[in-house]
Amino acid sequence: MSRPYVEIDNVAMRYGGVSGTLALQNCSMNVEQGEFIAVVGPSGCGKSTLMRLASGLWPATEGNVIVAGTEVDGPLPIVGMAFQNPTLLPWRRILSNVMLPLEVVPEHRKRLRKERPQYEAKARELLRLVGLEGFDAKFPYQLSGGMQQRSSLCRALVHDPALLMLDEPFSALDVFTREELWAVMQQVWMARKPTVILVTHDLREAVYLADRVLVMSARPGRIIAERRVDLPRPRTLDDTYSPEFQALTHDLRRYIAAARSGEEVVL
Protein backbone atom coordinates (compact mmCIF):
# COMPACT_ATOMS: atom_id res chain seq x y z
CA MET A 1 0.00 0.00 0.00
CA SER A 2 1.27 3.45 -0.89
CA ARG A 3 2.03 6.06 1.64
CA PRO A 4 -0.85 8.20 2.97
CA TYR A 5 -1.07 11.68 1.43
CA VAL A 6 -1.05 13.47 4.74
CA GLU A 7 0.69 12.00 7.76
CA ILE A 8 0.49 13.70 11.10
CA ASP A 9 2.76 11.80 13.42
CA ASN A 10 2.75 12.27 17.18
CA VAL A 11 2.46 16.03 16.92
CA ALA A 12 2.44 18.35 19.91
CA MET A 13 1.83 22.07 19.91
CA ARG A 14 2.43 24.40 22.80
CA TYR A 15 1.62 28.11 22.65
CA GLY A 16 3.70 30.78 24.34
CA GLY A 17 6.88 29.03 25.39
CA VAL A 18 7.68 26.14 27.73
CA SER A 19 4.99 26.95 30.29
CA GLY A 20 2.38 27.91 27.70
CA THR A 21 -0.89 26.20 26.81
CA LEU A 22 -0.54 22.73 25.40
CA ALA A 23 -3.03 22.64 22.52
CA LEU A 24 -2.14 19.28 21.00
CA GLN A 25 -0.30 16.23 22.27
CA ASN A 26 0.39 12.80 20.78
CA CYS A 27 -1.86 13.74 17.93
CA SER A 28 -1.62 11.36 14.97
CA MET A 29 -3.71 10.89 11.85
CA ASN A 30 -3.36 9.82 8.25
CA VAL A 31 -5.32 10.97 5.24
CA GLU A 32 -5.34 9.10 1.93
CA GLN A 33 -5.15 10.89 -1.38
CA GLY A 34 -8.60 12.00 -2.52
CA GLU A 35 -10.14 11.24 0.85
CA PHE A 36 -12.59 13.54 2.62
CA ILE A 37 -11.80 13.68 6.32
CA ALA A 38 -13.78 15.47 8.99
CA VAL A 39 -12.27 16.27 12.38
CA VAL A 40 -14.78 16.89 15.16
CA GLY A 41 -14.24 17.65 18.80
CA PRO A 42 -15.36 19.75 21.75
CA SER A 43 -14.70 23.47 21.45
CA GLY A 44 -11.18 24.57 22.29
CA CYS A 45 -9.75 21.11 21.64
CA GLY A 46 -7.15 22.30 19.15
CA LYS A 47 -8.92 21.60 15.86
CA SER A 48 -7.89 24.89 14.32
CA THR A 49 -4.37 24.42 15.64
CA LEU A 50 -4.20 21.07 13.87
CA MET A 51 -5.30 22.81 10.68
CA ARG A 52 -2.61 25.45 10.98
CA LEU A 53 0.09 22.86 11.59
CA ALA A 54 -1.01 20.72 8.66
CA SER A 55 -1.00 23.73 6.32
CA GLY A 56 2.46 24.79 7.48
CA LEU A 57 1.31 28.16 8.85
CA TRP A 58 2.87 27.28 12.18
CA PRO A 59 5.61 24.81 13.04
CA ALA A 60 4.78 21.95 15.44
CA THR A 61 6.49 21.92 18.83
CA GLU A 62 7.04 18.17 18.51
CA GLY A 63 6.44 15.52 15.89
CA ASN A 64 6.24 15.57 12.11
CA VAL A 65 3.75 16.70 9.54
CA ILE A 66 4.32 15.07 6.15
CA VAL A 67 2.35 16.02 3.04
CA ALA A 68 2.84 14.17 -0.26
CA GLY A 69 5.93 12.45 1.09
CA THR A 70 7.79 15.58 2.19
CA GLU A 71 8.09 17.10 5.61
CA VAL A 72 6.16 20.39 5.92
CA ASP A 73 8.33 23.29 7.04
CA GLY A 74 6.33 26.22 5.67
CA PRO A 75 3.13 27.07 3.83
CA LEU A 76 2.47 24.92 0.78
CA PRO A 77 1.12 26.30 -2.47
CA ILE A 78 -0.73 23.00 -3.10
CA VAL A 79 -3.01 23.82 -0.16
CA GLY A 80 -6.27 25.71 -0.45
CA MET A 81 -7.77 27.09 2.74
CA ALA A 82 -11.16 28.39 3.76
CA PHE A 83 -11.78 29.83 7.19
CA GLN A 84 -14.73 30.38 9.48
CA ASN A 85 -15.01 33.96 8.21
CA PRO A 86 -15.02 34.64 4.49
CA THR A 87 -11.87 36.82 4.85
CA LEU A 88 -12.41 38.39 1.43
CA LEU A 89 -10.42 41.52 0.64
CA PRO A 90 -13.04 44.30 0.83
CA TRP A 91 -11.41 46.46 -1.87
CA ARG A 92 -11.49 43.73 -4.50
CA ARG A 93 -14.46 42.65 -6.55
CA ILE A 94 -15.58 39.04 -6.18
CA LEU A 95 -13.84 37.80 -9.32
CA SER A 96 -10.51 39.32 -8.37
CA ASN A 97 -10.90 38.03 -4.81
CA VAL A 98 -11.38 34.54 -6.17
CA MET A 99 -8.33 34.95 -8.39
CA LEU A 100 -6.09 36.12 -5.55
CA PRO A 101 -4.28 32.77 -5.09
CA LEU A 102 -3.33 32.83 -8.78
CA GLU A 103 -1.38 36.03 -8.16
CA VAL A 104 0.57 34.42 -5.34
CA VAL A 105 1.18 30.75 -6.12
CA PRO A 106 4.44 30.66 -8.13
CA GLU A 107 3.24 28.19 -10.75
CA HIS A 108 0.25 30.35 -11.68
CA ARG A 109 1.58 33.87 -11.15
CA LYS A 110 4.01 33.40 -14.01
CA ARG A 111 1.29 32.32 -16.42
CA LEU A 112 -1.44 34.66 -15.19
CA ARG A 113 -0.47 37.64 -17.34
CA LYS A 114 -0.44 35.70 -20.58
CA GLU A 115 -3.38 33.43 -19.87
CA ARG A 116 -5.65 35.79 -17.97
CA PRO A 117 -8.78 35.08 -20.08
CA GLN A 118 -8.50 31.34 -19.45
CA TYR A 119 -7.97 31.89 -15.72
CA GLU A 120 -10.88 34.30 -15.57
CA ALA A 121 -13.10 31.79 -17.33
CA LYS A 122 -12.07 29.20 -14.77
CA ALA A 123 -12.86 31.48 -11.83
CA ARG A 124 -16.25 32.29 -13.38
CA GLU A 125 -16.93 28.58 -13.84
CA LEU A 126 -16.23 28.01 -10.12
CA LEU A 127 -18.53 30.88 -9.18
CA ARG A 128 -21.24 29.31 -11.35
CA LEU A 129 -20.69 25.97 -9.64
CA VAL A 130 -21.39 27.48 -6.20
CA GLY A 131 -24.39 29.43 -7.50
CA LEU A 132 -22.83 32.87 -7.79
CA GLU A 133 -23.14 33.38 -11.50
CA GLY A 134 -23.33 37.08 -12.36
CA PHE A 135 -21.92 38.30 -9.05
CA ASP A 136 -18.30 38.49 -10.16
CA ALA A 137 -18.24 42.30 -10.44
CA LYS A 138 -19.78 42.91 -6.99
CA PHE A 139 -17.85 43.97 -3.93
CA PRO A 140 -17.93 41.61 -0.94
CA TYR A 141 -20.05 43.96 1.17
CA GLN A 142 -22.76 43.79 -1.48
CA LEU A 143 -23.16 40.05 -0.86
CA SER A 144 -24.83 38.17 1.98
CA GLY A 145 -22.76 36.19 4.47
CA GLY A 146 -23.57 32.91 2.74
CA MET A 147 -22.62 34.29 -0.66
CA GLN A 148 -19.34 35.62 0.73
CA GLN A 149 -18.58 32.20 2.14
CA ARG A 150 -19.27 30.65 -1.28
CA SER A 151 -16.81 33.08 -2.83
CA SER A 152 -14.30 32.14 -0.18
CA LEU A 153 -14.73 28.47 -1.16
CA CYS A 154 -14.09 29.40 -4.79
CA ARG A 155 -10.92 31.20 -3.76
CA ALA A 156 -9.77 28.09 -1.88
CA LEU A 157 -10.34 26.02 -5.03
CA VAL A 158 -9.21 28.25 -7.88
CA HIS A 159 -5.58 27.13 -7.99
CA ASP A 160 -6.60 23.45 -8.09
CA PRO A 161 -5.17 22.61 -4.68
CA ALA A 162 -4.37 18.97 -4.10
CA LEU A 163 -5.18 19.46 -0.44
CA LEU A 164 -8.15 21.47 0.76
CA MET A 165 -8.25 22.63 4.37
CA LEU A 166 -11.61 23.81 5.63
CA ASP A 167 -11.59 25.39 9.07
CA GLU A 168 -15.26 25.48 10.12
CA PRO A 169 -16.21 27.26 6.92
CA PHE A 170 -19.96 26.85 7.41
CA SER A 171 -20.25 27.44 11.14
CA ALA A 172 -21.04 31.15 10.95
CA LEU A 173 -23.99 30.58 8.59
CA ASP A 174 -27.66 29.96 9.29
CA VAL A 175 -28.89 26.36 9.11
CA PHE A 176 -30.50 26.58 5.67
CA THR A 177 -27.55 28.26 4.02
CA ARG A 178 -25.24 25.80 5.72
CA GLU A 179 -27.13 22.78 4.39
CA GLU A 180 -27.17 24.33 0.93
CA LEU A 181 -23.41 24.75 1.04
CA TRP A 182 -22.91 21.15 2.17
CA ALA A 183 -24.52 20.09 -1.08
CA VAL A 184 -22.29 22.52 -3.02
CA MET A 185 -19.23 21.19 -1.23
CA GLN A 186 -20.18 17.59 -1.96
CA GLN A 187 -20.68 18.43 -5.61
CA VAL A 188 -17.30 20.17 -5.82
CA TRP A 189 -15.55 17.29 -4.12
CA MET A 190 -17.17 14.70 -6.37
CA ALA A 191 -16.22 16.69 -9.45
CA ARG A 192 -12.58 17.30 -8.53
CA LYS A 193 -11.70 14.77 -5.85
CA PRO A 194 -9.20 16.82 -3.87
CA THR A 195 -7.98 15.55 -0.51
CA VAL A 196 -10.04 17.43 2.08
CA ILE A 197 -9.58 17.98 5.80
CA LEU A 198 -12.66 19.61 7.28
CA VAL A 199 -12.67 20.83 10.85
CA THR A 200 -16.14 21.24 12.30
CA HIS A 201 -18.19 20.94 15.46
CA ASP A 202 -21.31 19.94 13.56
CA LEU A 203 -21.69 16.14 13.56
CA ARG A 204 -24.36 16.11 10.85
CA GLU A 205 -22.06 18.12 8.65
CA ALA A 206 -19.16 15.75 9.34
CA VAL A 207 -21.12 12.60 8.56
CA TYR A 208 -22.87 14.12 5.53
CA LEU A 209 -19.63 15.16 3.85
CA ALA A 210 -16.83 12.88 5.01
CA ASP A 211 -15.48 9.44 4.18
CA ARG A 212 -14.07 9.22 7.66
CA VAL A 213 -14.80 11.18 10.83
CA LEU A 214 -12.07 11.61 13.43
CA VAL A 215 -12.91 12.62 16.99
CA MET A 216 -10.56 14.73 19.05
CA SER A 217 -10.24 14.76 22.80
CA ALA A 218 -10.46 17.86 24.98
CA ARG A 219 -7.26 19.91 25.25
CA PRO A 220 -4.53 18.83 24.80
CA GLY A 221 -6.14 17.42 21.69
CA ARG A 222 -5.45 14.09 20.13
CA ILE A 223 -7.47 11.71 17.98
CA ILE A 224 -9.44 9.36 20.22
CA ALA A 225 -11.84 7.71 17.79
CA GLU A 226 -12.53 7.19 14.14
CA ARG A 227 -15.71 6.24 12.25
CA ARG A 228 -15.93 5.35 8.59
CA VAL A 229 -18.99 6.64 6.75
CA ASP A 230 -19.96 4.17 4.04
CA LEU A 231 -23.17 5.86 2.90
CA PRO A 232 -23.35 6.11 -0.90
CA ARG A 233 -22.87 9.44 -2.65
CA PRO A 234 -24.35 11.79 -3.59
CA ARG A 235 -25.90 12.02 -0.15
CA THR A 236 -29.07 14.04 0.28
CA LEU A 237 -30.36 16.05 3.18
CA ASP A 238 -33.06 13.41 3.63
CA ASP A 239 -30.31 10.86 4.15
CA THR A 240 -29.24 12.78 7.22
CA TYR A 241 -32.49 11.67 8.86
CA SER A 242 -32.07 7.96 7.97
CA PRO A 243 -31.55 5.46 10.80
CA GLU A 244 -27.96 4.61 9.73
CA PHE A 245 -27.01 8.28 9.64
CA GLN A 246 -28.65 8.92 12.97
CA ALA A 247 -26.88 5.94 14.51
CA LEU A 248 -23.52 7.26 13.33
CA THR A 249 -24.02 10.79 14.60
CA HIS A 250 -25.36 9.41 17.84
CA ASP A 251 -22.31 7.26 18.27
CA LEU A 252 -19.99 10.21 17.57
CA ARG A 253 -21.93 12.40 19.96
CA ARG A 254 -21.18 10.00 22.80
CA TYR A 255 -17.47 10.31 22.13
CA ILE A 256 -17.69 14.09 22.14
CA ALA A 257 -19.69 14.06 25.36
CA ALA A 258 -17.08 11.82 26.91
CA ALA A 259 -14.26 13.97 25.61
CA ARG A 260 -15.92 17.07 27.04
CA SER A 261 -16.21 15.55 30.48
CA GLY A 262 -12.59 14.49 30.20
CA GLU A 263 -13.22 10.81 30.82
CA GLU A 264 -11.25 8.09 29.14
CA VAL A 265 -13.86 5.83 27.57
CA VAL A 266 -13.91 2.74 25.45
CA LEU A 267 -17.18 2.42 23.61
Binding site: L57, P75, M81, F83, T87, L89, V104, P106
Partner: protein
Protein backbone atom coordinates in the same frame (compact mmCIF):
# COMPACT_ATOMS: atom_id res chain seq x y z
CA UNK B 1 -40.66 48.36 -11.12
CA UNK B 2 -43.29 45.91 -12.17
CA UNK B 3 -45.67 44.45 -9.66
CA UNK B 4 -45.53 47.48 -7.40
CA UNK B 5 -48.86 48.70 -6.15
CA UNK B 6 -49.87 52.32 -6.71
CA UNK B 7 -49.55 53.10 -3.02
CA UNK B 8 -46.12 51.56 -2.73
CA UNK B 9 -45.04 53.45 -5.83
CA UNK B 10 -46.31 56.74 -4.42
CA UNK B 11 -44.51 56.11 -1.16
CA UNK B 12 -41.33 55.19 -2.99
CA UNK B 13 -41.56 58.41 -5.00
CA UNK B 14 -42.09 60.43 -1.84
CA UNK B 15 -39.04 58.88 -0.20
CA UNK B 16 -36.93 59.53 -3.29
CA UNK B 17 -38.09 63.15 -3.43
CA UNK B 18 -37.28 63.56 0.26
CA UNK B 19 -33.79 62.15 -0.36
CA UNK B 20 -33.27 64.55 -3.29
CA UNK B 21 -34.33 67.53 -1.16
CA UNK B 22 -31.96 66.49 1.57
CA UNK B 23 -29.09 66.16 -0.87
CA UNK B 24 -29.71 69.59 -2.37
CA UNK B 25 -29.71 71.07 1.12
CA UNK B 26 -26.45 69.28 1.93
CA UNK B 27 -24.76 70.76 -1.13
CA UNK B 28 -26.03 74.25 -0.37
CA UNK B 29 -25.35 74.16 3.37
CA UNK B 30 -21.62 75.03 3.35
CA UNK B 31 -22.28 78.10 1.17
CA UNK B 32 -25.13 79.21 3.38
CA UNK B 33 -22.92 78.91 6.46
CA UNK B 34 -20.00 80.80 4.89
CA UNK B 35 -22.17 83.61 3.52
CA UNK B 36 -24.00 83.78 6.83
CA UNK B 37 -20.72 84.13 8.70
CA UNK B 38 -19.62 87.02 6.51
CA UNK B 39 -22.99 88.73 6.94
CA UNK B 40 -22.87 88.46 10.75
CA UNK B 41 -19.27 89.68 10.68
CA UNK B 42 -20.09 92.69 8.48
CA UNK B 43 -23.15 93.51 10.55
CA UNK B 44 -21.26 93.32 13.87
CA UNK B 45 -18.44 95.53 12.61
CA UNK B 46 -20.90 98.20 11.54
CA UNK B 47 -23.25 98.07 14.52
CA UNK B 48 -20.53 97.99 17.20
CA UNK B 49 -18.28 100.36 15.28
CA UNK B 50 -15.24 98.08 15.54
CA UNK B 51 -12.07 99.82 14.40
CA UNK B 52 -10.68 98.67 11.08
CA UNK B 53 -7.33 98.31 12.81
CA UNK B 54 -8.74 95.61 15.14
CA UNK B 55 -11.17 93.74 12.88
CA UNK B 56 -11.91 95.05 9.39
CA UNK B 57 -15.35 94.35 7.96
CA UNK B 58 -15.53 91.80 5.09
CA UNK B 59 -16.48 94.55 2.65
CA UNK B 60 -13.21 96.35 3.49
CA UNK B 61 -11.26 93.12 3.20
CA UNK B 62 -12.68 92.37 -0.24
CA UNK B 63 -11.98 95.94 -1.32
CA UNK B 64 -8.35 95.55 -0.23
CA UNK B 65 -8.19 92.18 -1.97
CA UNK B 66 -9.48 93.67 -5.19
CA UNK B 67 -7.08 96.57 -5.02
CA UNK B 68 -4.05 94.34 -4.45
CA UNK B 69 -5.28 91.41 -6.49
CA UNK B 70 -2.06 91.02 -8.47
CA UNK B 71 0.42 90.66 -5.60
CA UNK B 72 -2.18 88.55 -3.78
CA UNK B 73 -2.43 86.19 -6.73
CA UNK B 74 1.32 85.92 -7.36
CA UNK B 75 2.13 85.42 -3.70
CA UNK B 76 -0.64 82.84 -3.32
CA UNK B 77 0.68 80.93 -6.31
CA UNK B 78 4.16 81.05 -4.78
CA UNK B 79 2.85 79.68 -1.51
CA UNK B 80 0.82 77.07 -3.36
CA UNK B 81 3.93 75.97 -5.24
CA UNK B 82 6.12 75.62 -2.13
CA UNK B 83 3.31 73.92 -0.24
CA UNK B 84 2.66 71.39 -2.96
CA UNK B 85 6.36 70.65 -3.34
CA UNK B 86 6.78 70.05 0.40
CA UNK B 87 3.55 68.08 0.45
CA UNK B 88 4.71 65.88 -2.44
CA UNK B 89 7.94 65.07 -0.58
CA UNK B 90 5.86 64.35 2.52
CA UNK B 91 3.68 61.88 0.61
CA UNK B 92 6.65 59.97 -0.80
CA UNK B 93 8.64 59.89 2.45
CA UNK B 94 5.52 59.38 4.57
CA UNK B 95 4.27 56.37 2.63
CA UNK B 96 7.72 54.73 2.51
CA UNK B 97 8.37 55.23 6.21
CA UNK B 98 4.78 54.37 7.09
CA UNK B 99 5.07 51.05 5.26
CA UNK B 100 8.38 50.30 6.99
CA UNK B 101 7.06 51.18 10.44
CA UNK B 102 3.72 49.45 9.95
CA UNK B 103 5.14 46.20 8.67
CA UNK B 104 8.21 45.79 10.87
CA UNK B 105 8.15 45.83 14.64
CA UNK B 106 11.90 46.43 14.62
CA UNK B 107 11.62 49.61 12.61
CA UNK B 108 8.65 50.69 14.70
CA UNK B 109 10.46 50.19 18.01
CA UNK B 110 13.60 51.83 16.69
CA UNK B 111 12.18 54.90 14.96
CA UNK B 112 8.96 55.82 16.69
CA UNK B 113 10.44 57.64 19.73
CA UNK B 114 12.63 59.69 17.41
CA UNK B 115 9.66 60.56 15.21
CA UNK B 116 7.61 61.67 18.20
CA UNK B 117 10.52 63.84 19.34
CA UNK B 118 10.79 65.43 15.89
CA UNK B 119 7.09 66.09 15.74
CA UNK B 120 7.13 67.75 19.15
CA UNK B 121 9.60 70.38 18.00
CA UNK B 122 7.75 73.58 17.05
CA UNK B 123 8.46 74.09 13.37
CA UNK B 124 8.85 77.87 13.85
CA UNK B 125 12.00 77.08 15.81
CA UNK B 126 13.41 75.05 12.94
CA UNK B 127 13.02 77.74 10.29
CA UNK B 128 16.09 79.79 11.37
CA UNK B 129 18.18 76.64 11.19
CA UNK B 130 16.83 75.91 7.72
CA UNK B 131 17.72 79.43 6.65
CA UNK B 132 21.28 78.94 7.87
CA UNK B 133 21.44 75.71 5.88
CA UNK B 134 19.64 76.67 2.69
CA UNK B 135 19.69 80.49 2.71
CA UNK B 136 16.69 82.72 2.17
CA UNK B 137 14.61 81.35 -0.67
CA UNK B 138 11.88 78.88 -1.31
CA UNK B 139 13.61 75.86 0.28
CA UNK B 140 13.06 76.72 3.95
CA UNK B 141 9.32 77.00 3.19
CA UNK B 142 9.26 73.75 1.21
CA UNK B 143 11.05 71.90 3.99
CA UNK B 144 8.88 73.35 6.73
CA UNK B 145 5.76 72.30 4.78
CA UNK B 146 7.33 68.85 4.41
CA UNK B 147 8.25 68.53 8.09
CA UNK B 148 4.84 69.52 9.34
CA UNK B 149 2.76 67.40 6.95
CA UNK B 150 4.98 64.32 6.99
CA UNK B 151 4.06 63.04 10.44
CA UNK B 152 0.29 62.50 10.03
CA UNK B 153 0.95 60.55 6.82
CA UNK B 154 3.51 58.26 8.47
CA UNK B 155 1.29 57.57 11.47
CA UNK B 156 -1.79 56.83 9.37
CA UNK B 157 -0.12 54.60 6.80
CA UNK B 158 1.65 52.71 9.59
CA UNK B 159 -1.63 52.27 11.48
CA UNK B 160 -3.40 51.00 8.37
CA UNK B 161 -0.73 48.42 7.71
CA UNK B 162 -0.17 47.38 11.32
CA UNK B 163 -3.88 46.77 11.92
CA UNK B 164 -4.42 44.37 9.00
CA UNK B 165 -6.55 41.50 10.33
CA UNK B 166 -4.33 38.43 10.94
CA UNK B 167 -6.92 36.31 9.07
CA UNK B 168 -6.36 38.35 5.90
CA UNK B 169 -2.62 37.81 6.22
CA UNK B 170 -3.15 34.09 6.81
CA UNK B 171 -5.08 33.83 3.56
CA UNK B 172 -1.95 34.90 1.71
CA UNK B 173 0.56 33.23 4.02
CA UNK B 174 -1.20 29.88 3.58
CA UNK B 175 -0.44 30.16 -0.14
CA UNK B 176 3.25 30.72 0.51
CA UNK B 177 3.17 34.46 -0.16
CA UNK B 178 6.32 36.43 0.59
CA UNK B 179 6.17 39.33 3.09
CA UNK B 180 6.42 41.77 0.19
CA UNK B 181 3.36 40.17 -1.50
CA UNK B 182 1.41 40.62 1.71
CA UNK B 183 2.35 44.30 1.93
CA UNK B 184 1.43 44.98 -1.69
CA UNK B 185 -1.76 42.93 -1.88
CA UNK B 186 -3.16 43.45 1.61
CA UNK B 187 -1.23 46.06 3.61
CA UNK B 188 -1.18 48.93 1.12
CA UNK B 189 -4.78 48.68 -0.13
CA UNK B 190 -5.92 48.26 3.45
CA UNK B 191 -3.98 51.41 4.44
CA UNK B 192 -5.44 53.56 1.63
CA UNK B 193 -8.43 54.91 3.57
CA UNK B 194 -6.05 55.83 6.41
CA UNK B 195 -3.68 57.42 3.91
CA UNK B 196 -6.37 59.61 2.40
CA UNK B 197 -7.68 60.58 5.82
CA UNK B 198 -4.15 61.75 6.62
CA UNK B 199 -3.83 63.61 3.30
CA UNK B 200 -6.77 65.79 4.20
CA UNK B 201 -5.02 66.78 7.41
CA UNK B 202 -1.56 66.95 5.87
CA UNK B 203 -2.51 69.18 2.95
CA UNK B 204 -3.96 71.82 5.26
CA UNK B 205 -1.08 71.76 7.75
CA UNK B 206 1.39 71.92 4.85
CA UNK B 207 0.04 75.43 4.22
CA UNK B 208 0.64 76.29 7.85
CA UNK B 209 4.25 75.14 7.50
CA UNK B 210 4.91 77.08 4.31
CA UNK B 211 3.36 80.28 5.65
CA UNK B 212 5.22 80.02 8.96
CA UNK B 213 8.50 79.87 7.06
CA UNK B 214 7.47 82.71 4.76
CA UNK B 215 6.65 84.89 7.75
CA UNK B 216 9.85 84.13 9.65
CA UNK B 217 12.02 84.60 6.58
CA UNK B 218 9.99 86.93 4.37
CA UNK B 219 11.14 86.24 0.83
CA UNK B 220 8.01 85.52 -1.16
CA UNK B 221 4.56 84.03 -0.74
CA UNK B 222 1.41 84.95 1.06
CA UNK B 223 3.21 84.82 4.41
CA UNK B 224 5.57 87.57 3.29
CA UNK B 225 2.65 89.57 1.89
CA UNK B 226 0.90 89.45 5.24
CA UNK B 227 4.10 90.46 7.07
CA UNK B 228 4.59 93.43 4.78
CA UNK B 229 0.94 94.42 5.02
CA UNK B 230 0.94 94.30 8.81
CA UNK B 231 4.13 96.33 9.03
CA UNK B 232 2.27 98.96 6.99
CA UNK B 233 -0.76 98.59 9.31
CA UNK B 234 -2.82 97.51 6.30
CA UNK B 235 -4.98 95.16 8.38
CA UNK B 236 -7.63 94.56 5.66
CA UNK B 237 -4.91 93.23 3.36
CA UNK B 238 -3.63 90.93 6.14
CA UNK B 239 -7.13 89.53 6.43
CA UNK B 240 -7.43 89.23 2.65
CA UNK B 241 -4.28 87.07 2.75
CA UNK B 242 -5.78 84.93 5.51
CA UNK B 243 -8.99 84.43 3.55
CA UNK B 244 -7.15 83.49 0.35
CA UNK B 245 -5.11 80.96 2.35
CA UNK B 246 -8.26 79.46 3.82
CA UNK B 247 -9.81 79.22 0.35
CA UNK B 248 -6.74 77.45 -1.04
CA UNK B 249 -6.92 75.03 1.91
CA UNK B 250 -10.54 74.20 1.10
CA UNK B 251 -9.76 73.64 -2.59
CA UNK B 252 -6.88 71.25 -1.83
CA UNK B 253 -8.98 69.46 0.77
CA UNK B 254 -11.73 68.96 -1.80
CA UNK B 255 -9.26 67.60 -4.34
CA UNK B 256 -7.93 65.12 -1.76
CA UNK B 257 -11.49 64.12 -0.89
CA UNK B 258 -12.44 63.65 -4.53
CA UNK B 259 -9.50 61.29 -5.12
CA UNK B 260 -10.35 59.48 -1.90
CA UNK B 261 -13.93 58.84 -3.02
CA UNK B 262 -12.79 57.57 -6.36
CA UNK B 263 -10.18 55.15 -5.02
CA UNK B 264 -11.49 53.91 -1.69
CA UNK B 265 -15.22 53.69 -2.28
CA UNK B 266 -15.23 50.24 -0.67
CA UNK B 267 -14.41 51.78 2.70
CA UNK B 268 -17.04 54.52 2.45
CA UNK B 269 -20.02 52.33 1.58
CA UNK B 270 -23.34 53.36 2.91
CA UNK B 271 -22.47 57.01 3.42
CA UNK B 272 -24.04 58.13 0.20
CA UNK B 273 -26.53 55.38 -0.33
CA UNK B 274 -30.02 56.64 -0.83
CA UNK B 275 -33.11 55.79 -2.76
CA UNK B 276 -32.38 57.99 -5.73
CA UNK B 277 -29.23 55.99 -6.42
CA UNK B 278 -30.61 52.60 -5.44
CA UNK B 279 -33.70 52.85 -7.67
Amino acid sequence: MTGMSARALARYEAMAAQARRQRRLQTALPWIVIIGMFLVWEFSCRVFGISEFILPAPSRIFAAGLRWWQPLMWDSLDTLKTTMLGFAFAIVAGVLLGVAIGSSTMVYKGLYPLLIAFNSIPKVAVVPVLIIWFGIGMWPAVITAFLISFFPIVVNVATGIATVEPELKDVLRALGARPWDIIVKVGLPRAMPYFFASLKIAVTVAFVGAIIAESVAPNSGIGRLMMVASSRFDVPLVFAGLIVTGAMGIVLYLIAEFIERRTTGWAMRGQDQNLAVGG
